[in-house]
Amino acid sequence: FISERFASVFERFRKQQNLTADNIREGLKEVRRALLEADVAVEVVREFLQRVESKAIGQQLIAGVTPAQQIVQVVHDELIALMGEPDSELPWASAGPTVILLAGLQGSGKTTTAAKLAHLLQRQHQKRVLLVAADLQRPAAIEQLKTLGQQVGCPVFHREGLRPPELCAQAVAAARQGGQDVVILDTAGRLHVDEALMSEVAEVHARTQPHATLLVVDAMTGQDAVNSSKAFHQRLPLTGVIVTKLDGDARGGVIVSLRHVVGRPIKFVGVSEKLDGLQPFHPDRYARRILG
C-alpha cells in the first residue's frame, strides 16, 4: 500500500506534534505521483491535493501512527468523500415509460451496457424494457443490439429511414403504447469535438426528455477524460456515469476525474463482458485500487 513508500520520508519528522505543510509536503508529492500514475487528471489531482492539504494541516499527530500513514488516511477519506455515496438509483417516471439515454466515446461499452442494464432492470426490478438501436453509423450496430436483446429476452426497437432523434422519439411513443416501463436508448459512439454528432445527441435528448442521461466511460481512460466528459456534460444534462471494463487492471483514476468534473454519481460499473456483468458502484472498493 502507498504508505510503505512514505515510511522513510516521514522518519525525519518523527519528533513533530502536528501535521505541518513541511512534514506533509513529501508525502503529498508521493500521493500526487500515485494519483497521476492511476490516470487521475492533472487538474483534478491539483485541486484534490489542495483540499487534502487544507484539511490535514494543523491536525494533531495521532499516537501510534506515522505522519505518513496519517496523511494517507486523510487522502483515503477525502477520496471516498469525493466519490460520493453509493447511488445506483434510477429516477423512475411517475407515469409512462422511464427513458434512459446512453452516450459516450467510441468503443466505451454503450451497446453492451444497454443490454446489461436491460437484463438488470428486468431481473431486479421486474421492469418491461424496450432497447432502442439508434446507432445508424457503425456497421452491424443494429444487429449487435438485436443479438444482445435476444440473449436478454428483451425487444429491440428499430425503424428504417429515420434519423436518431426521430427514431428515439418514435421508440418512446411505441413504448408508451406497448406498456413498457423502461426505454434504453443506445446511441452511436461520438467524439466530443464532432459538432454535428454532439448536436445530434443533444437533439435526441430534447426529443425524448430522458429521466436518466448516463455517460458510459472506459475505466482505462487517461487524461483526456476531463476533455470529453466536460464536453458531454455541457451538451447533455448528465444525471450519472457508468464506468466499464473494471474487470481489467487499469487503476481507474478516471473515476476521480469524472466525479470532480461531472459531479454526478457513478451509477454502475461494468465488470465483465457478460450480460450479468453490471454492478452498483461501491466507492470504498475503488479508493484503494486508485491509490495503488
Binding site: 490516470d39 466515446l105 457503425r138 452491424a140 482505462m220 487517461g222 470529453s228 471494463k245 487499469a250 478516471v254
Partner: protein
Amino acid sequence: IGARRTIDAAFLRELEDTLLAADIGVAKTEEILADLQRRYRAGEVAEGEDLLRFLKASLRAELAAEEQELRFAAQGPTVVLVVGVNGAGKTTTVAKLAHRLRAIGRRPLVAAADTYRAAAIEQLSVWAQRARVEIVKGEPGGDAAAVAYDAVAAAQARGCDTVLIDTAGRLHNKEHLMRELEKMRRVIQKRLPEAPHDVLLVLDATAGQNAVQQAKVFKEIIGVTGLVITKLDGTAKGGVAITVKRELGLTVRYIGVGEGLDDLQPFDPDAFVEAIFA
C-alpha cells in the same frame, strides 16, 4: 507554449502540464524535464534556441524507427494478427488496412476470427464488402483459431498476398483469453511456420497508463511486433507510445484518425509530437 529561451519555473510547470495531459506519464515526464534542464545547464541547447523546438526534436528522435509499415513476407502470404483490448478499434483497423493494401496494389484477405462478440462477424463482413476484399469467416461461437488457420490456407490457395486476422477484444489480465490467443498463434504457425509476420497491438489513444501494461502483457504472451494507435482524431494524444517505445522497443506503424476506410495513416513521428504541443 510559446518560444522560450530560459528554463524558469513557469516554463517547467507549463511543460509538465502539457506532457502529463498527453498521457506521457509521470515517470517519463520527470525524466524529460530533468534531461532538458541538465542539457540546458551543460550548454547543449544553443543560446537563443527555442527550447521547445529542442524538446520536440528529441521526442521525435525517440519515436522514429527504421521500420516498414508492415513486415511483408519475402514469398507467400504475409500474415498479420491484429490484437488488443475490447473496443480499441481492431475490426475497423483491419478494414482500413485491407483498404489501404488494396489501394497500393496488393490483394488482401480478412479473417473474422472474433467468434465471440455479438455481430462481430457481421461487422467485419460489412467492412469487407465496402473495402471490396475477400473474407474468411466461421460460425458465431466457433473455434477462432480454426478461422485463422482456414484464412491462411485460403490465402495460399487463392493467391492472396496478405491475411489480416481480426481477433476478439480481450483484457490482458484474463489468462484464459490470452492463452486462447497464444493457441491461435501456434495454429497459424502450423500452417505457415514463419507466420504471423506481424502482430499489431491496437491501442486506443484515449487510454491512459494502462496501455503500457497492455503492451507489456500482449508482447510477453504473443509477441507483439508493432502498434496501431486509434482515435487520434479526438483530443487524446496517445503519449503512452513514448514509454512503450522506450520500455518495449515497439514502434507505432499506423494511426487511426476516423471511422472511415480512408482514416488510417502511416505513423509520422513529426506530426505526432507536434500534436502534443498544439
